[in-house]
Amino acid sequence: MSVLWIVILIILGVAAFLCLFRIFRGPTIADRMVGVDIMGILFVGITAITGILYNLSYLIDIAIAVALISFVGTLALAKYLERRTLDD
Protein backbone atom coordinates (compact mmCIF):
# COMPACT_ATOMS: atom_id res chain seq x y z
CA MET A 1 0.00 0.00 0.00
CA SER A 2 3.03 2.31 -0.20
CA VAL A 3 1.66 3.87 -3.41
CA LEU A 4 -1.34 5.17 -1.45
CA TRP A 5 0.92 6.79 1.16
CA ILE A 6 3.06 8.42 -1.53
CA VAL A 7 -0.06 9.83 -3.27
CA ILE A 8 -1.25 11.21 0.09
CA LEU A 9 2.17 12.82 0.68
CA ILE A 10 2.07 14.41 -2.78
CA ILE A 11 -1.40 15.88 -2.10
CA LEU A 12 -0.26 17.26 1.26
CA GLY A 13 2.83 18.73 -0.41
CA VAL A 14 0.63 20.51 -2.96
CA ALA A 15 -1.42 21.95 -0.09
CA ALA A 16 1.77 23.13 1.63
CA PHE A 17 2.89 24.84 -1.60
CA LEU A 18 -0.48 26.64 -1.75
CA CYS A 19 0.16 27.91 1.80
CA LEU A 20 3.64 29.00 0.69
CA PHE A 21 2.05 30.94 -2.19
CA ARG A 22 -0.16 32.77 0.31
CA ILE A 23 2.85 33.49 2.55
CA PHE A 24 4.80 35.05 -0.32
CA ARG A 25 1.86 36.83 -1.94
CA GLY A 26 -0.14 37.93 1.12
CA PRO A 27 -1.08 41.61 1.04
CA THR A 28 -0.87 42.15 4.80
CA ILE A 29 1.04 40.61 7.69
CA ALA A 30 -2.11 38.85 8.92
CA ASP A 31 -2.35 36.82 5.69
CA ARG A 32 1.22 35.64 6.09
CA MET A 33 0.55 34.63 9.69
CA VAL A 34 -2.52 32.61 8.65
CA GLY A 35 -0.37 30.86 6.04
CA VAL A 36 2.32 30.01 8.59
CA ASP A 37 -0.27 28.64 11.04
CA ILE A 38 -1.92 26.41 8.45
CA MET A 39 1.46 25.23 7.15
CA GLY A 40 2.40 24.15 10.69
CA ILE A 41 -0.77 22.06 10.98
CA LEU A 42 -0.06 20.53 7.54
CA PHE A 43 3.47 19.58 8.60
CA VAL A 44 2.02 17.66 11.55
CA GLY A 45 0.02 15.53 9.12
CA ILE A 46 2.98 15.08 6.76
CA THR A 47 5.22 13.93 9.61
CA ALA A 48 2.62 11.43 10.88
CA ILE A 49 2.08 9.99 7.39
CA THR A 50 5.85 9.65 6.92
CA GLY A 51 6.06 7.78 10.21
CA ILE A 52 3.41 5.33 8.98
CA LEU A 53 5.11 4.94 5.57
CA TYR A 54 8.57 4.06 6.88
CA ASN A 55 7.29 2.38 10.09
CA LEU A 56 9.20 4.77 12.34
CA SER A 57 7.18 5.28 15.51
CA TYR A 58 9.26 8.18 16.83
CA LEU A 59 8.11 10.51 14.05
CA ILE A 60 4.71 10.82 15.76
CA ASP A 61 6.51 12.30 18.79
CA ILE A 62 8.03 14.88 16.46
CA ALA A 63 4.51 15.57 15.15
CA ILE A 64 3.27 16.27 18.70
CA ALA A 65 6.23 18.61 19.31
CA VAL A 66 5.59 20.48 16.03
CA ALA A 67 1.93 20.93 17.00
CA LEU A 68 2.91 22.36 20.41
CA ILE A 69 5.47 24.78 18.98
CA SER A 70 3.11 25.87 16.19
CA PHE A 71 0.37 26.68 18.73
CA VAL A 72 2.64 28.73 21.00
CA GLY A 73 4.22 30.51 18.04
CA THR A 74 0.83 31.42 16.58
CA LEU A 75 -0.30 32.88 19.91
CA ALA A 76 2.91 34.93 20.12
CA LEU A 77 2.47 36.20 16.55
CA ALA A 78 -1.15 37.16 17.29
CA LYS A 79 -0.04 39.12 20.36
CA TYR A 80 2.58 40.88 18.23
CA LEU A 81 -0.09 41.68 15.63
CA GLU A 82 -2.24 43.17 18.38
CA ARG A 83 0.66 45.47 19.33
CA ARG A 84 0.77 44.26 22.91
CA THR A 85 3.55 42.75 24.95
CA LEU A 86 3.73 39.08 25.78
CA ASP A 87 3.00 39.35 29.50
CA ASP A 88 -0.53 40.75 29.58
Partner: protein, 136 residues
Protein backbone atom coordinates in the same frame (compact mmCIF):
# COMPACT_ATOMS: atom_id res chain seq x y z
CA UNK B 1 -1.44 -7.09 -0.34
CA UNK B 2 -2.88 -10.24 1.18
CA UNK B 3 -3.17 -9.01 4.77
CA UNK B 4 -5.35 -5.96 4.10
CA UNK B 5 -8.39 -6.29 6.34
CA UNK B 6 -11.67 -4.40 6.41
CA UNK B 7 -10.48 -2.26 9.33
CA UNK B 8 -7.45 -1.19 7.30
CA UNK B 9 -9.67 -0.18 4.39
CA UNK B 10 -11.87 1.90 6.72
CA UNK B 11 -8.75 3.58 8.10
CA UNK B 12 -7.45 4.35 4.58
CA UNK B 13 -10.82 5.89 3.67
CA UNK B 14 -10.76 8.11 6.79
CA UNK B 15 -7.19 9.22 5.99
CA UNK B 16 -8.14 10.01 2.38
CA UNK B 17 -11.12 12.11 3.53
CA UNK B 18 -8.81 14.00 5.88
CA UNK B 19 -6.28 14.64 3.13
CA UNK B 20 -9.01 15.94 0.83
CA UNK B 21 -10.16 18.33 3.59
CA UNK B 22 -6.55 19.53 3.91
CA UNK B 23 -6.34 20.20 0.16
CA UNK B 24 -9.68 22.03 0.11
CA UNK B 25 -8.61 24.20 3.04
CA UNK B 26 -5.38 25.17 1.27
CA UNK B 27 -7.31 25.98 -1.93
CA UNK B 28 -9.63 28.18 0.13
CA UNK B 29 -6.58 29.88 1.65
CA UNK B 30 -5.51 30.88 -1.86
CA UNK B 31 -8.87 31.65 -3.44
CA UNK B 32 -10.84 33.60 -0.82
CA UNK B 33 -10.67 37.41 -0.84
CA UNK B 34 -10.16 38.40 2.80
CA UNK B 35 -8.09 37.64 5.89
CA UNK B 36 -11.13 36.51 7.87
CA UNK B 37 -12.53 34.37 5.06
CA UNK B 38 -9.14 32.72 4.55
CA UNK B 39 -8.83 32.07 8.26
CA UNK B 40 -12.29 30.53 8.44
CA UNK B 41 -11.83 28.20 5.48
CA UNK B 42 -8.27 27.22 6.23
CA UNK B 43 -8.53 26.66 9.97
CA UNK B 44 -11.79 24.71 9.96
CA UNK B 45 -11.04 22.38 7.11
CA UNK B 46 -7.34 21.90 7.82
CA UNK B 47 -8.01 21.14 11.48
CA UNK B 48 -10.68 18.59 10.56
CA UNK B 49 -8.35 17.17 7.88
CA UNK B 50 -5.37 16.64 10.16
CA UNK B 51 -7.65 15.28 12.90
CA UNK B 52 -9.02 12.85 10.31
CA UNK B 53 -5.48 11.76 9.42
CA UNK B 54 -4.72 11.10 13.08
CA UNK B 55 -7.97 9.13 13.60
CA UNK B 56 -7.19 7.12 10.46
CA UNK B 57 -3.71 6.28 11.79
CA UNK B 58 -5.35 5.15 15.04
CA UNK B 59 -7.75 2.91 13.09
CA UNK B 60 -4.99 1.44 10.89
CA UNK B 61 -2.44 0.72 13.64
CA UNK B 62 -4.89 -0.18 16.40
CA UNK B 63 -4.23 0.50 20.06
CA UNK B 64 -0.45 0.32 19.77
CA UNK B 65 1.73 3.13 21.24
CA UNK B 66 1.82 4.73 17.77
CA UNK B 67 -1.98 4.83 17.59
CA UNK B 68 -2.36 6.24 21.11
CA UNK B 69 0.18 8.97 20.35
CA UNK B 70 -1.68 9.81 17.14
CA UNK B 71 -4.94 10.07 19.12
CA UNK B 72 -3.29 12.39 21.66
CA UNK B 73 -1.87 14.56 18.87
CA UNK B 74 -5.28 14.77 17.17
CA UNK B 75 -7.09 15.73 20.37
CA UNK B 76 -4.44 18.37 21.04
CA UNK B 77 -4.92 19.82 17.55
CA UNK B 78 -8.69 19.80 18.00
CA UNK B 79 -8.34 21.75 21.25
CA UNK B 80 -5.73 24.31 20.20
CA UNK B 81 -6.57 25.19 16.60
CA UNK B 82 -9.76 27.19 17.43
CA UNK B 83 -7.87 29.09 20.13
CA UNK B 84 -5.07 30.11 17.76
CA UNK B 85 -7.58 30.99 15.01
CA UNK B 86 -9.53 33.21 17.40
CA UNK B 87 -6.36 34.94 18.58
CA UNK B 88 -5.25 35.52 14.98
CA UNK B 89 -8.60 36.96 13.91
CA UNK B 90 -8.82 39.29 16.92
CA UNK B 91 -5.22 40.39 16.36
CA UNK B 92 -5.83 41.11 12.70
CA UNK B 93 -9.00 43.09 13.56
CA UNK B 94 -7.09 45.21 16.09
CA UNK B 95 -4.25 45.51 13.57
CA UNK B 96 -6.71 47.01 11.13
CA UNK B 97 -6.88 44.45 8.36
CA UNK B 98 -9.53 45.63 5.94
CA UNK B 99 -12.60 43.55 5.32
CA UNK B 100 -13.82 42.53 1.93
CA UNK B 101 -16.21 45.05 0.43
CA UNK B 102 -19.00 42.49 0.23
CA UNK B 103 -18.99 41.96 3.99
CA UNK B 104 -22.49 42.22 5.44
CA UNK B 105 -22.08 42.72 9.20
CA UNK B 106 -19.29 43.66 11.62
CA UNK B 107 -20.71 43.29 15.12
CA UNK B 108 -17.36 43.41 16.94
CA UNK B 109 -16.37 46.67 15.30
CA UNK B 110 -19.80 48.14 16.02
CA UNK B 111 -19.59 47.26 19.72
CA UNK B 112 -15.96 47.81 20.61
CA UNK B 113 -14.51 50.20 18.06
CA UNK B 114 -17.38 52.66 17.73
CA UNK B 115 -18.37 52.00 14.16
CA UNK B 116 -18.17 49.40 11.45
CA UNK B 117 -14.72 48.83 10.00
CA UNK B 118 -16.07 47.84 6.63
CA UNK B 119 -14.60 50.15 4.07
CA UNK B 120 -16.66 49.85 0.95
CA UNK B 121 -17.31 52.52 -1.59
CA UNK B 122 -20.88 51.39 -2.14
CA UNK B 123 -21.97 51.82 1.49
CA UNK B 124 -20.25 55.22 1.66
CA UNK B 125 -22.07 56.25 -1.49
CA UNK B 126 -25.37 55.06 0.02
CA UNK B 127 -24.72 56.99 3.24
CA UNK B 128 -23.90 60.19 1.36
CA UNK B 129 -27.03 59.77 -0.76
CA UNK B 130 -29.16 59.33 2.37
CA UNK B 131 -27.63 62.45 3.91
CA UNK B 132 -28.36 64.38 0.72
CA UNK B 133 -31.94 63.15 0.83
CA UNK B 134 -32.30 64.21 4.46
CA UNK B 135 -30.93 67.66 3.66
CA UNK B 136 -33.25 68.00 0.72
Amino acid sequence: MTDVTVVDVIGYIVILVGVLFDLLGAIGLVRLPDVYNRLQSATKSVTLGTFGIMIGILIVTGFTPLGIKALICGVFLLLTAPVSAHALSRGSLRFGAKMWKGTVIDAYGKDKLGGPQIESEESEAKESKEKEDEVA
